[in-house]
Amino acid sequence: MKETFFRSMTWLHTWVGLLVCWVLLLVFFAGTVSYYRYEISLWTKPEIHSDVFQNYQTENLTHQLREGQAYLSQHAENAKDWRINFPTERKPYLSYSWQTQPEAGKRRGQFIEHIAHVNGQDMVTDVRNSRGGNFFYRLHFDLHYMPAKIARWIVGFCTMFMLLALISGIVIHKRIFKDFFSFRRNKGGRSWLDAHNISSVLALPYHLMITYTGLITLMLMYMPWGVMTAYDGDTRAFRAELKPGREQVAASGTPAPLIQLSELLPTVKASWGDTPIKQVVISNINDENSRISFYKNTGQSVTDLRIPLIFSGVSGELVSKASSAPSAANATHDTLMSLHTARFAEPVLRFFFFICGFMGCAMIATGTLLWAVKIRQKQQKLIKQGNKPSLGLRLVEGLNLTFIAGLPLATCAFFYANRLLPTQMADRAQWEIHSFFAVICLTAVLAFFDRSLTSWRRVLGLSAVAFMAIPLLNWGTSSQHLFQNMASQQWALAGFDILSFLIGIALWFARKKLAQTHTKTSNRVAASTAWAKKGKRVSTASTKEGA
């Protein structure tokens, strides 16, 4: 019975992992990149790299609110809503934005953002059209080229499988600690297994946390059954009760003038003290039911319930209820959400999240590589006799090349497209995304014809060079190059260049490693067959711990 359990867990781990690993790799990769969503968005807008960045200053608030209101009433009189965005740590600029009236049948209008120059007079309005970091953020759960709803079900399904793979992986890994401390280099399949173990175990708490909280972020879609029984399926009522500040007031149709926003500042200060304000949203502009909501910059606090102060836009009266302390369930839910998005993380902690995310990618990649290496060894005799490898093996090897080596290259293509496509091009933002997927498709074509180590070396080498050249690309296409950014302490922009360069170097080493392996093929084959023989002996004695 116990033996069957281990065997079925091993089976579960292998097949569940293999079935969803490429979608999971894409999701994990996009999620990891999204930790730097705002920084990427800054980098992809070179128009704002100079004379725009500023810090939040309380003494400027009154002036900035007045200017913003005047600007918006001049440029966006008929908008659906207005937003005045104050500088924060990760978005260090002041901007006025608005949402145009949605077209018939659509829920949302178009978002337009104008960014203030530091001199307080000029506005930057011709920022290139790019999805920036939001592309990776959306890719993480909405994928692309398909309706978001379907994509979220696919991602949810894969996430659930990931949770199963993790738990079955823990179960089958009897010698989890012993194996963790042993890394056998250059031993073919054995090394892949060790690498898989290390990347899984080292960041295991992170993997479990990120998978479970990932399911929680979309649980209202995946598991709405509590709402079905307790609210008879009325999701709206549930949401309204959960977050009382959220309900929207419809426009009355009776026009009424908007008050001066800056007059509300003393009331805001009375409730929040000197806590920085992140955003002011004005809805139903110049209507009797207009609302002005102030959001504070919750910065590094873990729970961020975004409880706004809401005022009537006509009388200036505070209409939101006094916020009570969040209930335990609310606070738990919010903490789980922010653990997933790491919105509280300051730079060092954020970097650790980023590294853990990459360990997750490595775990998935080494897992599927390990499978391919093992199956190839099993088929070695047949292949030597001149037979083709089985369809399954060819498929897995092809997908491995496409996704593991292709994703970094595709990411690079996105950044190059961002800087090199003409700024006035039609559908520019979409074409940046098309170039991301075009590179994945090209890698797939390459993988279709040649899945050998040479292909791996080519793709890895190309992405290594492309990543290392990103600082040069930035130098050529932005007003501020790396050293200027370092001198002016724009660490978001400088960090982007430095991190890209380091990733390029890492990829170059991976390529070099492969080149060495290639020259020592005979050694490798000898080592791996020895390992396979040993592995067979071990697996008959006890159940296999790996795939």
Binding site: M1, M223, Y231
Partner: protein
């Protein structure tokens, strides 16, 4: 798929079918357990409705995992189906009874 012989009973007991059946039990019957479990919890946790629903939803995925592991740990795939469907049926009866 090449069948070694045409004995249906042997085919159904064979490894691929057995494992396939367990997987479907884990995915579908496991989801039923999680869904009914969270539906019931949302009703019986003695807190304001929005709070108990939130807690029930957050816990539901651990029921799902437990159910899936269950499907792979019992002796036969038929037992996996039987157990999980029985559990969700009982939970569903409780939901009807409570509401």
């Amino acid at each position: 798929m090449v069948l070694p012989n045409l004995n249906w009973r042997a085919f159904i007991r064979s490894q691929p079918i057995n494992i396939m059946s367990r997987s479907f039990a884990a995915i579908f019957a496991g989801y039923l357990v999680a869904a009914t479990g969270s539906g019931l919890l949302a009703l019986i946790i003695p807190l304001p409705a929005s709070q108990s629903v939130l807690i029930a939803m957050m816990l539901s995925f651990s029921f799902y995992v437990a159910a899936a592991i269950w499907a792979f740990s019992v002796g036969t795939s038929r037992q996996a189906w039987r157990d999980l469907l029985l559990i969700s049926a009982i939970l569903y009866i409780f939901i009807l009874w409570v509401s």
